[in-house]
């Protein structure tokens, strides 16, 4: 190729690089500033005041209960979505048809409805049951409603891709009962989808704010609700350090989702647009 024909390509590349770097900087500078604020002794005096871990320690002292509660809630949500979602996905893949599609749509509805509206509906319907309303179970129900479609769709996509109906017929022909087929054939072959769904559910549950903010009581505060609290009432350094703690929890999960997503065959990924397209923006939008 002659130098003359190279140069326009080089120019295009340089421009693309510039735009990319500017956009990246636009997004990264606030994040960097926020992280720095969490380590700065006094943010208004700037870095000259020195770096410190005191704010992080303070956050762990003040808010460790919300961190623990968020983790417990996420694991509880995961357990329920596994128990409900995997068999449901199996049932829907086994009997495709109008009913199956309808059920799938209804289950997916909570993702489209604003969390606040969903929470309000739960409070109107079940708020009268005082014990239930006050217990962590109330928030758990909300989180399950919101995360179940992600588990369901992720598992359904994998089951459809491996043609689980025929595999199951094969197992049945060898004498396996429905329960044996589920545990010997369906679950092991859905492992990829179950893992992807599980990461999604935990991430979404830990980051969920809208719904949780409406449902929480002073005794059932999650990390994002605590964040909103600290932003409103604490000094900036503590709020920033708190954000930092949240990042430390959520980023490894996001990385795991990404790594796992790369391992999945393209076909499977294409069949789960919710996972790829909706997930991350939702999490970003959740941060108060």
């Amino acid at each position: 190729m002659s130098p003359r024909s190279m140069s326009p390509h080089r120019l295009t590349f340089a421009l693309q690089l510039l735009v990319t770097l500017v956009v990246a900087a636009f997004l990264l500078v606030p994040a960097g500033a926020s992280i720095l604020a969490g380590f700065t002794a006094n943010y208004f005096r700037g870095l000259s005041s020195g770096l410190t871990l005191d704010w992080v320690k303070e956050v762990l002292k003040l808010y460790s209960d919300t961190i623990g509660f968020s983790i417990a809630l996420a694991l509880g949500t995961l357990a329920v979505t596994l128990v409900l979602g995997v068999p449901a996905a199996w049932a829907l893949v086994r009997r495709p048809g109008r009913m199956a599609r309808l059920v799938e749509e209804v289950v997916t509805l909570p993702v489209a409805i604003p969390g606040l509206a969903l929470a309000l509906a739960l409070i109107i319907a079940y708020g009268g049951f005082r014990e239930f309303r006050m217990s962590p179970l109330f928030i758990l129900v909300g989180h399950v409603l919101y995360t179940l479609p992600f588990m369901l769709r992720s598992v359904m996509a994998v089951l459809a891709a491996v043609d689980v109906r025929t595999l199951e017929e094969g197992a049945a022909s060898l004498g396996a009962s429905p329960l044996q087929r589920f545990f010997h054939v369906v679950v092991p072959n859905a492992k990829g989808g179950i893992l992807a769904g599980a990461l999604m559910v935990v991430t979404l549950s830990i980051g969920e704010f809208n719904l949780t903010w409406m449902l929480h009581t002073p005794l059932t505060k999650t990390l994002p609700v605590g964040l909103a609290d600290s932003y409103a009432s604490m000094r900036l350094e503590i709020a920033s350090a708190y954000t930092l703690v949240f990042f430390v929890m959520i980023v490894p999960l996001l990385v795991a989702i990404q790594m796992f997503g790369l391992e999945r065959p393209l076909k499977t990924r294409a069949q789960t647009p919710t996972k790829a397209n909706r997930g991350p923006p939702l999490i970003a939008g959740e941060q108060p």
Binding site: T166, E169, G170, A171, A172, S173, L174, G175, S177, N189
Partner: protein
């Protein structure tokens, strides 16, 4: 090793199938399959052969009124896992989460056979199929032909009373298909197991079947031995679907079949409109004066050991015959056609 002592005799009565959307997949039919027989269900796609196999397997239930019995015992309401059948699927349905040996031993595992014993038996089946070296492989590491053998081994490992094969060779290339066909044939005969084999390939059906059920649009078109189906097709559909068939339109009168190309003696009651069916190999070429049927040679295809000759009758009817390679046949010449009376059928 002996895998099975006795196959089951299968009786179907009034088994039809209408799907939920109202599609009639199978007209109610009766069929009786003696123990140990290899029965081939042959027909084009959508003829109901797979539905019939799935009803026998227990993967579908027949419409009300249909009954299936194995050795006289009604199994209509039994699901597949209680029927003790072996099944080989078109896509093989091997479990990707298990190794070859675990796949083959799976049927014994769900039957509660102890691990050491079920592995011993599974290895024995793999040995019989001469694929014991594949035992520890993952399913994804196998070629198509190997998968096919593993699927067959897995189905046989539970010593089923009946083995059901749903187009087991369709996914393979032609040379391998022929090889495995011979292997399956000798295996089924050795085991004396009742086998039902679904295929759309007439060569497979003719080679494997003790009897063939030719199906069309959800109904049985003909049941018979391969020879009967091939040489005495009972209707036009069977004649067309199984092999190349020549047809001569004409009439039957006073013990003679008469057509535009001439006439030949043919016993039977008078019929104003009749079609004579015959295979290329049931005919031979001779000098025009030696026979009543005369055609003009349109095309000669040399095929090595033989030659295929396309003939045209006076009314334009084309027939295809096979002639020995050394016989002198020239395009454009008039030739007589001699037909083997035992290999003709009239519809």
């Amino acid at each position: 090793m002996t895998l099975t002592a006795t196959g089951a005799a299968i009786t179907l009565s009034g088994c039809g199938k209408t799907f939920a959307d109202g599609t009639r997949a199978l007209e109610p039919l009766d069929l009786s399959i003696p123990a140990g027989e290899t029965l081939v269900l042959l027909g084009p796609s959508g003829c109901g052969k797979t539905t019939l196999l799935r009803i026998i397997a227990g993967l579908e239930s027949p419409d009300a009124g249909g009954h299936i019995a194995f050795d006289g015992a009604d199994v209509t309401t039994l699901p597949i896992e209680k029927r003790n059948v072996g099944m080989v699927f078109q896509s093989y349905a091997l479990f990707p989460n298990m190794s070859v040996i675990d796949n083959v031993a799976y049927g014994l595992r769900v039957r509660g056979v102890a691990k050491a014993e079920r592995l011993r038996q599974a290895h024995a089946v793999l040995e019989m199929m001469r694929i014991d070296t594949l035992a520890e492989r993952r399913i994804t590491q196998l070629s198509g032909g190997q998968r096919q053998r593993v699927a067959l081994a897995r189905a046989l490992a539970v010593r089923p009373r009946v083995i059901l094969l749903d187009e087991p060779l369709t996914a393979l290339d032609a040379a391998l298909r022929e090889h495995l066909r011979a292997e399956i044939d000798s295996l089924l005969r050795r085991l004396a197991i009742t086998a039902i084999y679904v295929t759309h390939d007439q060569a497979e059906a003719l080679a494997l079947g003790d009897r063939i059920v030719v199906m069309r649009q959800g109904a049985i078109a003909q049941v018979g031995t391969p020879r009967e189906v091939y040489f005495q097709p009972q209707n036009d559909f069977v004649a067309t679907f199984v092999g190349i068939t020549n047809r001569l339109a004409g009439s039957l009168k006073a013990g003679h079949f008469a057509s535009a190309a001439g006439s030949l003696p043919f016993a039977g009651a008078d019929k104003a409109e009749a079609t004579l069916l015959f295979r290329p190999e049931a005919a031979s070429l001779c000098a025009p004066e030696e026979t009543g049927l005369v055609f003009q040679v349109e095309q000669v295809q040399f095929q090595g050991a033989r030659q295929r000759v396309v003939l045209a009758g006076a009314d334009g009817t084309r027939v295809v015959v096979e002639a020995p390679a050394e016989q002198l046949v020239a395009a454009g010449a008039a030739m007589g056609l001699r037909l083997d009376p035992s290999r003709l059928s009239l519809v």
